[in-house]
């Protein structure tokens, strides 16, 4: 059974059609990349998968481990193992990292019929996973994302991914705003989290990230549709020829 199966997905926001028939199948253990120009609908797809409420699905279906995903609330999706690393992580003044992570972990554990995590285990897990993305443990005492640098916010997303151990991780432009060193750190972290039973959907505008996280499949999205799918070489070709090349192919003049 596929981890994720998107069929002919149409979605709109405020009565504007944005996704116009997306098909996508991800199997466990695979890394898929979606590339595409700004405004092509990549974040919209991520939002629909994570359950952001303002997006309306008008046609098509999404199945996650065989279940209808669109029926679930965002928190139910998270508990079932979907994780979205936000393009723009939200600052939560007054919500401590520690408190937030503990609630998130315990929600998941409760859902899985486990008891609450012990304080010592939690601290250990937190330290270990923070190290994975070289996130300063001092940040754990701060409010979520508040006053974090751009790079810290992105690493914080991957850190949360590592804490929550999802089955399907969606990374929305986690590379944007990162310098090359930070990018390597994030990519290393993601690579360590690759696993047999975990799939990744990596959304990026640039090919560079894919030098470090080598994808199994690359898709190109233009104007709300996946117009081309290929192997990792497609990303390189795209970088060389630019999106106009694809546009030209997809929409013959």
């Amino acid at each position: 059974m596929a981890l994720l199966e998107v069929k002919n997905l149409h979605a709109s926001v405020e009565d504007t059609n944005i996704l116009k028939g997306v098909d996508l199948t991800i199997d466990g253990g695979q890394v898929h990349a979606i590339m595409g120009p700004n405004g092509s609908g990549k974040s919209t797809l991520a939002s629909v998968l994570a359950g952001r409420e303002e997006y309306e699905v008008s046609e098509g279906s999404v199945h996650y481990l065989g279940e209808d995903l669109l029926e679930l609330e965002p928190d139910e999706r998270a508990l079932e193992g979907i994780f979205l690393a936000f393009q723009y992580p939200v600052e939560l003044p007054g919500v401590s990292m520690m408190n937030f992570l503990k609630q998130a972990i315990n929600s998941k554990r409760e859902h899985q019929g486990q008891e609450e995590i012990k304080a010592a285990d939690f601290m250990k897990l937190m330290r270990e996973r923070a190290e994975l993305v070289s996130l300063d443990p001092k940040l754990m005492r701060r409010s979520v994302n508040e006053g974090f640098s751009g790079g810290e916010k992105k690493r914080n997303e991957i850190f949360q991914l590592a804490m929550l151990e999802p089955k399907l991780a969606i990374l929305d432009e986690t590379d944007s705003g990162l310098d090359i060193d930070a990018l390597r750190v994030v990519a290393d972290g993601v690579n360590k989290l690759r696993a047999e039973d975990r799939g990744f959907l990596i959304i990026t505008h640039y090919q560079r990230l894919l030098d470090y996280i080598v994808p199994d499949v690359v898709h190109v999205m233009v104007d709300g549709k996946i117009v081309k799918t290929g192997g990792k070489d497609l990303a390189i070709e795209l970088e060389e020829k630019g999106y106009d090349w694809i546009r030209g192919e997809a929409v013959p003049a």
Binding site: R52, L79, L92, H111
Partner: protein, 446 residues
Amino acid sequence: MPQTLEKIETTPEERFLTAFRAADGTTLNGSNSRLHTLRKEAIERFEALGFPKRKAEAYKYTNIQKVLKRNYALELAPRDPHVTADDIAPFLVPDLDAHVLVLVNGRFNEALSSIGELPDGAIVTGFAEAARQHPDLVEAHVGQYADHENDVFIALNTAFTQDGAFVYVPKSTVLEKPVHIVSVVAAEEDLMLQPRYLFIAEENAQATIIQTGRAITDTHTFTNAVVESYAGRNAHLDHYEIQDEGPKSAIHLSSQGYQHEHSVVRTNAFTFSGELVRNNLRMLPDGAHCESHLYGLVLGRDGMHVDNHTVVDHAAPDCYSSELYKHLVDDDATAVFNGRVLVRQDSQRINAYQSNDSLLLSEDADIYSKPELEIYADDVECSHGATTGTLDKEAIFYLQSRGLSYAEARALLLVAFARDVLDNVKVEALEALLDTYVTARFGPQA
């Protein structure tokens, strides 16, 4: 037979004047001659001033007339409502080691109190008892900070007050444990209470005073309270007021603080319930290098109306004041905030900051917020900011995407909104209790 405000077709003022005349010479003699003289002055001022009219600017958003109209019993003679230690127990702060003073219907109840040992010279007792036992101390301060000449509610309280609480901390003395004044309302009929509080921290003294108001009965009550506090040179005084007397309680609180140079005063006002609550808080830093911190948290719901009017009167140079009030307004509740900062002409080098943030949780919730900076000196740094918003949907989604339910996410964000006020609660056990309370109030419905 308790004295009750007459149900007559006359002005609300006349009803109090009639009651005063009837009780004068008996229960309103006061426990001390200075107080009796004050009463006479105060009732005259009350008559001359009258209650704020509908259009009065200071009461524009708060219809105080509504709660004045009821036929309250005045509680001028001591009665003995049946209140037990078990009734009081839930109102104590868990794990707080404090000097506990219990007031039942505004009267000091020694049997229920456990004041415990105090440092040499320190006094924690009922206000009437203090006036009898320590007349010099009381007379030196009472009526000095609360202005019964010009404020009708203070005048009314001064004329009618029977009891309340008194805290005195002598020079260079530190009260290690907080004083917890537990006010309990236990009424069989509609009741009006006019307690008086006098808190004195002399030079270099330090004290923390926590006041909590709760009710064990369900009649309409109107409490017209006056707090006078005095911080001597280099004194530290922390004051917490937790108002939670239930949906049928109305409160008019006049809290007036006086500060000598180098003193540090923190006030923290928490309003959790009440049909109508009006807090007039006035700080007067009257010597150089004072610090005044004013914090407030209002949790409005169901039809509650909560109005905080604050004034920081910078009468001396080189002082610092900061103010932070937060409102979480739900249902059809209304919150009013008016923050006035006055910097007088010779008060140079003042730093005064004010901020006021509100979250409206329902379409019917209202907030009226008005900062008033009046600055007559030229070398000052003052700022104010007011924000009003609704719950951030993106923040909710972020939390949900990490597995928290909508209700959990909402609760977390609302507690977070209150966080910077809660963080300024310096008494750990109290902070824990308030934290738990706020969390439970917004917590996911079971």
